[in-house]
């Protein structure tokens, strides 16, 4: 993952390797990030992610929930082709989480 710090939000670039490697690594990474995030908004963006482990997705949701506890809103940006997948999780019901679909050409 890579972090881009903007004026009032933090953008996290989420790559395929983050989505498929050992979930424990991902969790530690998220834990570290939580220490340094101090802006009111976080946007996590899937970058060229073609497959991912369910555990990684679980961790992303955990991450967002923990952020919410700190009062930080989150946004999840995924490519269109993952749309139907996310729909199964009814992410629209998760409070303070926006899920946007990116239209890839």
């Amino acid at each position: 993952m890579n972090i881009l710090r903007k004026v009032d939000e933090i953008e996290i670039f989420f790559y395929e390797e983050d989505a498929t490697n050992d979930p424990q690594n991902l969790r530690s990474a998220f834990e570290e990030m939580l220490e340094i995030i101090n802006l009111p908004r976080v946007r996590l963006k899937f970058c060229e992610v073609t497959s991912f482990r369910l555990e990684s997705l679980a961790l992303i949701f955990s991450f967002f929930k923990t952020l919410k506890q700190k009062g930080i809103t989150s946004e999840l940006l995924v490519p269109e082709r993952l749309e139907h997948f996310l729909k199964q999780f009814h992410t629209e019901k998760i409070p303070d989480l926006t899920t946007k679909l990116e239209h890839t050409g």
């Binding site: 834990e31 555990e55 679980a58 961790l59 955990s62 923990t66 199964q88 009814h90 992410t91 019901k93």
Partner: protein, 811 residues
């Protein structure tokens, strides 16, 4: 006094309500159910009301506050959480404490608890700890889905909230999930990620909880099976009333109408009366033959039957279900595992098995101790378990079953099991085991040491488990009610404890004996044999009286001396010995006269006799006199008899090494043989597993040598009996090599043998003659001659094979 009995009723009713509430609270943690919440509320509410009437204001206030907090949960202002459950349990414990000491009720302080409850109920109660359980924030489902509940009510269907873990089944893909859902599409009102159950990053748990909201006619368990997904949580939001009565309730019987509250005193009186009726009946039965009245006798016979039936039924009134014990156990497991940082799953089976009320208390104490031990010593910490490849949650299962009047309870855990090496060391250190014996002792025999007071393999004594005095207390407690306990364990895999207890305390068969003019009773159950004392078999070894019984030397206790300080020399003629068998060891009791067997009713001795181990109670004979019942376990403990090593064949083997002359008597397939001691180099004890086969020859390893062995059955055409696990080999040296005769067991070593004229039957190679040993025909053989011949035939080529093989190995 009137008031006293009213108060007493209030206390017992309140305790019952609290017990039920406790069970419900524990159940709610597994399976959240609105009905159960209501019943807990009602329990506190009732206690609040009743206590007020008696002026028990302390109880009233604590119940009131507890009731309030439950009301907050009911109305959705407060979520039901583990912390809340803990608080309620604390409240219940305190109330139980106060109720047990009701006349001092005013002196009990509850301000600490009240404060805790008030703080908990504050709306501004925020969770600052990182370790927060997610369900704290969960909205009240009843409120969230109130619309759907109304719908369920209208349509007369059940509404369930079904939560399961997506990550649980690694084979389940989302597509498969979709397919499964298609099957039940019509019944699923909504579904999705259960946001509230998602763990925080700090919780170090990876979970993807998914829920369905289901509206269905069926029972949720049936639904679960249909879906094929294991639920993490099943919450009943609305149950159509018809099904309420059909749904299986747990072991606690709540149906009040089939039961009647009876004072225990009344039952005890009934039992005493029946006991006396039995004694009086026995007296009549003794006299009946003297009347010479056949009709009268048959009437008496009929009455006797009726009395026996009456007795059985009355004894059964005191039967109580084990589930009452199980309730307590659930709570203890929860509390203990929590305080020790272990995760434990408890499986309980057989709660419907019934036991006499007096036994329930003993069982409870025993189980509590065993479970605590298991959680403390047995089950490893979650980290350790993970390292060992076990599931992080340990499992303890308790299974009860009833077989012909005996209740069997098995407690099994999947923890560390017994560390046999540590037990050995501990026993050696305490002088209970010699180094040499330690090398041969089997694991099964080692478990015996666990039951000796003071033997502990735990380095740190924790507050939870005590100082290794527990197991002997457990066993003694069980013995007192006629029960037994056994342990088996595989190190690293767990421990299995089996306890057996008779279902009722009733009439027990006993042997009556006379010691110093007084009668005593011994439970028939522990008697292995009865013999008439013979001076020649008696000797004193190391200050202990020992008696030779076949191939064993058994320690003997002189009852006259033990009980009355009688001089041992006197009265040894015309005495008798009863051989007692306890678990794995035997000992004998020397007494004056045998009076016969009797069926007796056991009566407890009073508190004044608490410290005396030698008696387990008293009974009343037909003539109205009291007789003491000897406690064989207590006698064994008191005299320290289990520390005396019972001599076995091993000692006899060493006897041959010393003597060099005389004869060794042994047995093969039930045939007795004898041979000159001088032909034997040594006698080895082996397990049948250590017999190898080279072609059709049996061999064993002896002193780094391969020694061929011969069975006498083959030579003399004796029908071979199936091999026991353990056998012996008589090792001889023949023409510079070792050879052996394989036998079943060594019987004795004697100085001389009286030969008897032989019949035609047994003639053959190596037979020197016939004798009688223990009144059985014994064949005197010359094993050197036998082996020499075999060596020239069968074994000769073997020597070559062995040499060749060994030279191959060296390469």
């Amino acid at each position: 006094m009137e008031l006293d009995s009213l108060i007493s009723d209030f206390v017992s009713e309140a305790l019952e309500l609290l017990q039920k509430a406790e069970t419900r609270i524990l159940e709610l943690e597994e399976d959240y159910n609105i009905e159960k919440l209501h019943s807990i509320f009602r329990a506190f509410h009732t206690i609040k009301g009743n206590s007020g009437m008696f002026g028990f204001h302390v109880i009233q206030e604590l119940s009131h506050k507890s009731e309030e907090i439950l009301d907050a949960v009911r109305s959705g202002h407060l979520p039901y959480s583990r912390e809340l459950a803990d608080l309620l349990l604390k409240s219940i414990d305190r109330l139980k404490q106060i109720l047990a000491d009701i006349y001092n009720e005013k002196n009990y302080l509850i301000s600490d608890l009240i404060e805790e409850i008030i703080n908990f109920a504050q709306p501004s109660h925020t969770q600052t700890s990182k370790e927060v359980s997610v369900r704290e924030e969960a909205p009240n489902l009843e409120i969230l889905y109130s619309e759907q509940i109304k719908l369920a009510l209208e349509k007369k269907l059940n509404l369930y909230y079904y939560l399961f873990e997506l990550l649980e089944d690694s084979n389940l893909t989302l597509d498969e999930l979709e397919n499964k859902l298609k099957l039940v599409e019509n019944e699923v009102l909504s579904r999705g990620l259960d946001y509230y159950s998602i763990p925080l990053i700090y919780e170090k748990k990876i979970s993807l909880p998914y829920y369905f909201l289901i509206l269905t006619q069926e029972n949720i368990d049936a639904f679960e099976t249909k879906l094929g997904l294991k639920a993490k949580q099943k919450i009943t939001l609305h149950l159509h009333t018809q099904q309420k009565t059909e749904e299986k309730t747990n072991n606690i019987t709540t149906n009040q109408t089939d039961f009647l509250r009876v004072k225990i005193d009344l039952l005890d009186d009934l039992i005493n009366l029946v006991g006396e009726t039995i004694i009086t009946r026995n007296q009549l039965l003794q006299r009946a033959p003297l009347w010479n009245d056949p009709e009268g006798s048959s009437i008496l016979s009929r009455m006797s039957q009726l009395i026996t039936q009456l007795h059985t039924k009355i004894m059964n009134t005191r039967l109580q279900e084990l589930s009452t014990v199980y309730q307590r156990i659930s709570r203890i497991v929860r509390d203990t595992s929590k305080s020790l940082g272990k995760q434990v799953e408890l499986k309980l089976e057989g709660g419907e098995v019934e036991l006499d009320k007096t036994m329930i208390d003993t069982i409870l104490d025993a189980l509590v101790h065993l479970i605590r031990n298991s959680i403390d010593h047995g089950i490893e910490t979650p980290e350790e378990r993970k390292k060992l490849g076990k599931s992080q949650e340990g499992l303890i299962s308790i299974r009860a079953s009833l077989q012909t009047g005996t209740v069997r309870i098995q407690i099994e855990d999947d923890g560390r099991g017994l560390d046999y090496e540590k037990i050995k060391l501990s026993a050696i250190k305490r002088g209970l085991l010699t180094e040499s014996r330690a090398q041969e002792i089997s694991n099964e025999e080692l478990t015996e040491f666990i039951f000796l007071p003071g033997v502990s393999t735990k380095e740190n004594i924790t507050e939870t488990s005590g100082r290794g005095v527990g197991m002997d207390a457990v066993r003694n407690g069980l013995k007192k009610i006629g029960g037994t306990i056994h342990l088996t364990s595989v190190t690293g895999q767990g421990l299995k404890i089996t306890a057996t207890i008779p279902q009722t305390v009733s009439v027990i068969s006993c042997l009556l004996i006379l010691v110093n003019g007084r009668r005593f009773a011994i439970f028939q159950k522990y008697i292995a044999e009865l013999l008439q004392f013979e001076e020649k078999n008696y000797s004193v070894i190391n200050g202990h009286g020992m008696y030779q019984l076949r191939e064993n030397l058994i320690p003997i206790i002189h009852l006259g001396k033990l009980l009355y300080g009688e001089d041992i020399q006197s009265k040894q003629q015309n005495s008798y010995i009863v051989i007692i068998r306890l678990d794995t060891y035997y000992f004998g009791l020397l007494f004056d006269e045998m009076l016969g067997t009797e069926e007796i009713v056991i009566k407890p001795l009073g508190e004044h006799f608490k410290g005396i181990k030698l008696f387990s109670g008293a009974t009343i004979m037909g003539d109205g006199e009291a007789v003491l019942i000897l406690d064989v376990f207590g006698i064994a403990d008191y005299t320290g008899i289990h520390t005396i090593e019972v001599k076995t064949s091993k000692e006899i083997i060493s006897k041959t090494k010393e003597r060099g002359k005389g004869y060794v008597l042994f047995e093969s397939s039930s045939q007795y043989f004898a041979t000159l001691s001088s032909s034997i180099v040594s006698i080895e004890r082996i397990s049948t597993q250590s017999i190898y086969h080279i072609s059709n020859i049996e061999v064993i390893e002896y002193k780094n040598d391969i020694v061929p062995i011969q069975r006498l059955e083959e030579i003399y055409n004796i029908e071979k009996q199936p091999d026991q696990k353990e056998k012996f080999v008589l090792i001889c040296k023949v023409e510079e090599r070792y050879l052996g005769i394989l036998i079943d067991k060594v019987l004795d070593v004697i100085e001389s043998l009286q030969l008897v004229p032989s019949s035609q039957h047994w003639q053959g190679e190596g037979i020197l003659g016939h004798a009688l040993y223990d009144q059985k025909p014994t064949i005197l053989v010359d094993i050197e001659a036998i082996l020499t011949k075999v060596n020239h035939n069968k074994f000769k080529w073997l020597g070559k094979v062995i040499e060749e093989t060994m030279s191959l190995e060296v390469k």
